[in-house]
Amino acid sequence: MTLVNAVVQGVLLGGMYALFATGLSLMFGVMRIVNLAHGDFAVFGAFFALVLVDSASLSPLVTLLIVVPGMAAFGYLLQRGLLQRAVVASPLPALLVTFGLSIVVQNLLLELFSADQRRLQIGSFETGSFQLTYDLAIGYFPAVVFAIAVALLVGLSLFLRRTQLGRLMRATSDDQETARLMGVDNRNMYALAAAIAFATVGLAGVLNGVQTNFSPASGPTLLIFAFEAVIIGGLGSLWGTLLGGIVLGVAQNVGAWIEPAQQVLAGHLVFLLVLALRPRGLLAKGAPA
């Protein structure tokens, strides 16, 4: 593998990380909730797809039509029924609640599906690739994931900036009480933001389940990668999230190119470097989008 190849594959991997980080970034940007159960809900989404594949023999990609809206509805209800109560000036209650949810989801999945490694199979598309040069090939699936991540972040950014619903969401994020005075139902607005976040979590979980193995214990690792992508890019900035995912993916792959056993360590080191030099992230902003 050449360095160029390592960088290219790293950028594509970064798309997957950015996809994971989108929901985390959105929940933080709008509600100031750090969702520690984020990775576990992604794994939950992947198992949701697996059940549909096994029971209705659907293709994993077709299950997205059910998993994504299902996760969105779940996110809406979770925010409305539980997380909204934890939205206070201090971030601690929300941290504790989502930490608890993380444990609940992991153990529920363990109880239902055992600790086995699972995979969502989509056949030849997953392994196929364009051969660009003799030693540089781009996998179809990573390329599609990257394109989805970019489209999602561009779409979300436009939604938040340009639509009335997006403006209302940002206004609610700025000042819930005053937003209510404008006739905005703050709880509904936050629940809608959670629905969008959970839809992206479901999408990321399923696509990740096609790309790599997953088990009920995979959540925390996914959470760490999503976290690193968000922090590297800058909290609350969706463009930063894309950039952060790419930086993390490239760091990991270049690390693996130097020393194959140290792929994950290289990512962590770059993350620490960003924290030390630019603690607010590469594209820090006060507001979401």
Binding site: Q164, R167, L168, R170, A171, S173, D174, D175, E177, T178, A179, R180, L181, M182, G183, V184, D185, N186, G286, A287
Partner: protein, 245 residues
């Protein structure tokens, strides 16, 4: 002469109590505002003026009495629903959406707009200083500019009842004068206005009636034409007329 509003009142508070936890802030206040009227609620810091507005907008629950709007009790109506009924507040300290631009603040204000004369264009006509600032984030504006945005944002909903909370707070007198100069155009558009002020003279210049609060209780209520500045000042500072005169 009591300050009873002529005809059917648009807003009618009857014997309202409001508590902050165990602490009572408003004691049996009754206040009626007729459609098209401008009423000023005056009082010193801590007299309960802002609390009264919070009870009207639904940000604080009332613990006794009733708030009626357009003949119906607002009991149980959440704050965001009251906005849709045509009640708009310009909050104390302006409370603009800091990460939104001036124009976006106005658009959010128009979220539950009723049909009426106010839209972005008419707001920019009322406050021409805002037009060049449209794309600026609200957080970088001067105090006077922010207050103009806050008033414009409230107008965007085409309110039937506009509540103004301490518009003059922290602003230079010249700026306050400019902002109050916009009030006749607002009342001419049909809005009923309830002004809460510490600046007695400014408020009395625009109001039809005054309602003075002292430590959460009504101290004086009268048409502006029938009271003197001294009477209002006495009620404001809590001096009994007999002691002064």
């Amino acid at each position: 002469m009591t300050g009873q509003a002529p005809g059917g009142a648009l807003l009618d508070l009857a014997g309202v109590d409001v508590h902050y936890g165990d602490l009572q802030a408003i004691f049996g206040v009754s206040l009626a505002v007729a459609e098209g009227e401008t009423v000023a609620v005056l009082g010193a810091n801590g007299a309960g003026k802002s609390t009264l507005l919070k009870a009207i907008t639904g940000m604080l629950p009332i613990t006794a009495g009733d708030v009626r709007y357009d003949g119906r009790s607002l009991r149980g109506a959440p704050a965001h629903r009251r906005a849709g009924m045509g009640i708009a507040l310009v909050p104390e300290g302006r409370r603009l959406f800091a990460s939104l631009t001036v124009e976006e603040n106005l658009l959010v204000g128009g979220h539950r707009a009723r049909p009426g004369p106010w839209n972005r264009r008419s707001v920019y006509e009322l406050f021409p200083l805002l037009r060049p600032l449209r794309k600026r984030p609200a957080s970088v504006l001067s105090g006077g500019e922010q207050q103009a945005v806050a008033i414009g944002r409230a107008l965007m909903s085409n309110p039937r009842l506009l509540l103004l909370d301490e518009v003059s707070l922290g602003l230079a007198p010249i700026v306050v004068k400019q902002l109050y100069a916009a009030l006749p155009a607002i009342t001419a558009s049909g809005a009923t206005v309830l002004v809460v002020e510490q600046d007695m003279h400014q408020a009395m210049a625009v109001a039809d009636r005054v309602h003075c609060l002292l430590e959460g209780r009504t101290a004086l209520e009268a048409p502006v034409s029938e009271v003197t500045g001294d009477q209002v000042a006495n009620a404001y500072f809590g001096m009994l007329p007999s002691v002064v005169s």
